[in-house]
């Protein structure tokens, strides 16, 4: 009996070892166990090349293999008749297999033994279902397609990025029973991702950063491929990757390390899906679960489709926000209040814009070299979001202005916002959430498309700290 390869994807989860038979040039057969057969598409699979062994020597000579795979739920046996095509040593397939191999190695206590040298790609000539006593498959726990439809409908209704992020993560919990999730956006330097929203953690971790190429999130971003891991695996714990490399990296100071990651300490299952619009990477949607093997191939399919809708929606809203017309010249009621420069010269004071809030003056210090901001010695934020915040506070102190537009931030050369690649709305959401969590006396409130208001509820003393 011949069956389509996609119908047996559960066999490629790595839960049950496979067996491979090959034949040497002199006709001697060889049979070996395999930790991992990777589903590529309906006509291709890949095997991990870890050592140069007899199997590999035979494949290079004869190019034919027969592989037995086993469905981990039903125990159904299949024989795949394969033809070796080529070996890939970089790129999405290689990175995905490397991550999954590390997971399987870690799960089976063989981390030191398994190392991926290449991804051997095979054409599947025939799939043979072996006669046996396979168990009936239980139906999937959640209807993925119905959930996907509900999520996509909800995304289409969003009118700004903040809403989009909220609706996405809420939808995952509501429709797919996924309760630990986060969204990270790509920094325009293309080397870092910053967390802009999360759900299901005690601390939101908004503003925390991951380096591209490190941890499951960074590798998914770098290779532009989804990565799904079903076991606890140390190598791909994105939260540790950043910490570890901070100390020994030349650009360590650039990376946001003050804000801890919100992730689960020992995630049993992880899935990172890049947000791609065409070839352009916008960010990564990351979900995890304490349960091992929580996410299946079907989940991965659904997440990839959702991520693609999300990427299009993010781009669409970002364009709309940037194109939105500018406010008429500032006419902010009661906010314009000339402020006498305070001493020392680098220090400015600003009065609260909302009346009736008690409390003394708060000091905000700005370090220009990395735009880090400290509120009464408590770290707030740095980088682009820090620069934006400092600009708003300065203008508020100098002219009393409270209303701003995305466009003027975009045009402000001192912020050095890249024209196309930066999502300004995402920076503002990050800043807004960080303020709400760490500095409630300041707030950013959206007042319309491409417009927002700075709310200051305590007198401020602004201090520029010389480099």
């Amino acid at each position: 009996m011949t069956v389509p390869l996609s119908a047996l994807r559960a066999c490629f989860e790595g839960a049950v070892p496979a067996t491979i038979a090959t034949c040497a040039a002199d006709g001697t057969p060889n049979v070996a166990k395999l930790s991992h057969v990777h589903f590529v598409d309906d006509r291709h699979v890949a095997l991990s090349y870890q050592f140069f062994n007899k199997t590999r020597e035979n494949l290079l000579h004869r190019r034919r293999a027969t592989v037995e795979v086993i469905d981990p739920a039903s125990a159904a046996l299949y024989h795949l008749h394969l033809e070796y095509l080529r070996t890939e040593t970089e790129g999405p397939l290689f990175e995905y297999m490397k991550a999954r191999l590390a997971a399987i190695a870690s799960h089976t206590g063989m981390s030191k033994v398994f190392r991926l040298l290449g991804a051997d790609l095979f054409r599947v000539l025939r799939v043979e279902a072996m006669p046996g006593d396979a168990l009936l498959q239980p139906s999937p726990p959640a209807d993925l397609l119905a959930g996907l439809r509900a999520c996509v409908v909800a995304l289409a209704r969003c009118t700004d990025l903040a809403q989009l992020l909220e609706v996405t993560l809420t939808g995952l919990a509501q429709h797919w029973d996924v309760h630990h999730s986060m969204l990270l956006m790509l920094d325009p330097d293309q080397r870092r991702l910053y967390t802009v929203a999360s759900r299901g953690y005690p601390e939101s971790g908004v503003g925390s950063e991951v380096r591209v190429g490190e941890g499951i999130v960074g590798v998914a971003a770098g290779a532009r491929t989804p990565i799904r891991i079903g076991y606890v695996v140390q190598e791909y714990r994105y939260s540790q990757a950043t910490r570890r490399h901070f100390a020994d990296s030349a650009d360590g100071g650039v990376l946001e390390t003050e804000i801890p990651f919100p992730g689960l300490a020992d995630a049993g299952s992880q899935l990172a899906v890049p947000l791609l619009n065409g070839d352009r990477l916008l960010g990564v949607l990351y979900v995890e679960s304490p349960v091992e093997e929580r996410f299946t191939y079907q989940d991965e399919d659904a997440f990839v489709v959702l991520a693609s809708h999300l990427a299009l929606a993010i781009d669409g809203l970002a364009r709309a926000a940037d194109q939105a017309c500018e406010l008429p010249p500032a006419s902010v009621q009661g906010a314009i209040r000339p402020v006498a420069p305070a001493t020392p010269p680098a220090t400015r004071s600003t009065a609260p814009s909302a009346a009736g809030t008690a409390g003394g003056t708060i000091q905000i210090r700005h370090f220009p070299h990395d735009h880090s901001l400290f509120v009464d010695n408590e770290y707030l934020i740095k980088g682009v979001a820090g620069a934006i915040c400092w600009k708003l506070l300065r203008e508020h102190a100098e002219s009393g202005r409270a209303d701003f537009t995305n466009r003027e931030l975009r045009l402000d050369t001192s912020l050095r916002l890249p024209e196309v690649t930066d999502n300004l709305d995402a920076r503002l959401i990050l800043l807004q959430r960080r303020l709400a969590e760490r500095c409630p006396l300041l707030a950013i409130e959206k007042t319309g498309r491409g417009r927002f208001r700075l709310i200051v509820s305590r007198p401020l003393q602004l201090v520029e700290v010389p480099a």
Binding site: T28, R64, E68, M110, D133
Partner: protein, 169 residues
């Protein structure tokens, strides 16, 4: 061709290796057809002769059509034995195999081997339903596949995987 037996008079299998082959291991056999296309099947249990020179694998016929056809045609054989709990793995090779009917105690031995393997899987966390379904063919019609191993390889994952093992004096 599978190369000639080792010059030593000692059998390839020492007593410890025999004990391993008879333990809770997965057993997979491979051969190939005239075009060099590999065939593959599972066995449930094996016997080893008193002098440790002959191995007989018990192979359910329903799931081994291609392999048995290739062996009948005189193709060489390779058999891998792997214990899930330890990953310990041995591969035996022989230039030919002989097919015959099961002996009187073989059906019972196959069932016992299937059950022992299922118990090993269950102890490792596989579900009982999965484990028993996987060994279900151990209760079916089978043939005895007998061969005299001439080559023995250590295939336990690691840097020494693939190492040819010599007879131990």
């Amino acid at each position: 061709m599978v190369t000639a037996p080792s010059s030593s008079d000692c059998p390839l299998l020492d007593q410890a290796r025999v004990v391993f082959l008879l333990g809770p291991v997965s057993i997979s056999l491979a051969s190939h057809d005239a075009a060099g296309v590999p065939s593959l099947a599972r066995a449930f249990g094996c016997r080893v002769s008193e002098d440790r020179r002959e191995v007989v694998a018990l192979v359910p016929t329903r799931t081994a059509e291609s392999l048995l056809r290739d062996l009948v045609a005189g193709a060489p054989i390779a058999v891998v034995f792997s214990r899930p709990k330890t990953h310990e793995t041995l591969q035996l090779k022989a230039p030919a195999a002989r097919l015959g009917p099961l002996g009187p105690t073989d059906p019972q031995h196959m069932r016992a081997s299937g059950n022992a393997f299922a118990a090993e899987l269950i102890a490792l966390g596989y579900s009982a339903a999965f484990s028993h379904a996987l060994v279900a063919p151990s209760k079916e019609d089978a043939v005895a596949v007998a061969f005299f191993p001439t080559l023995l390889f250590d295939q336990t994952p690691g840097p020494r995987a693939g190492r040819r093992l010599e007879p131990l004096p």
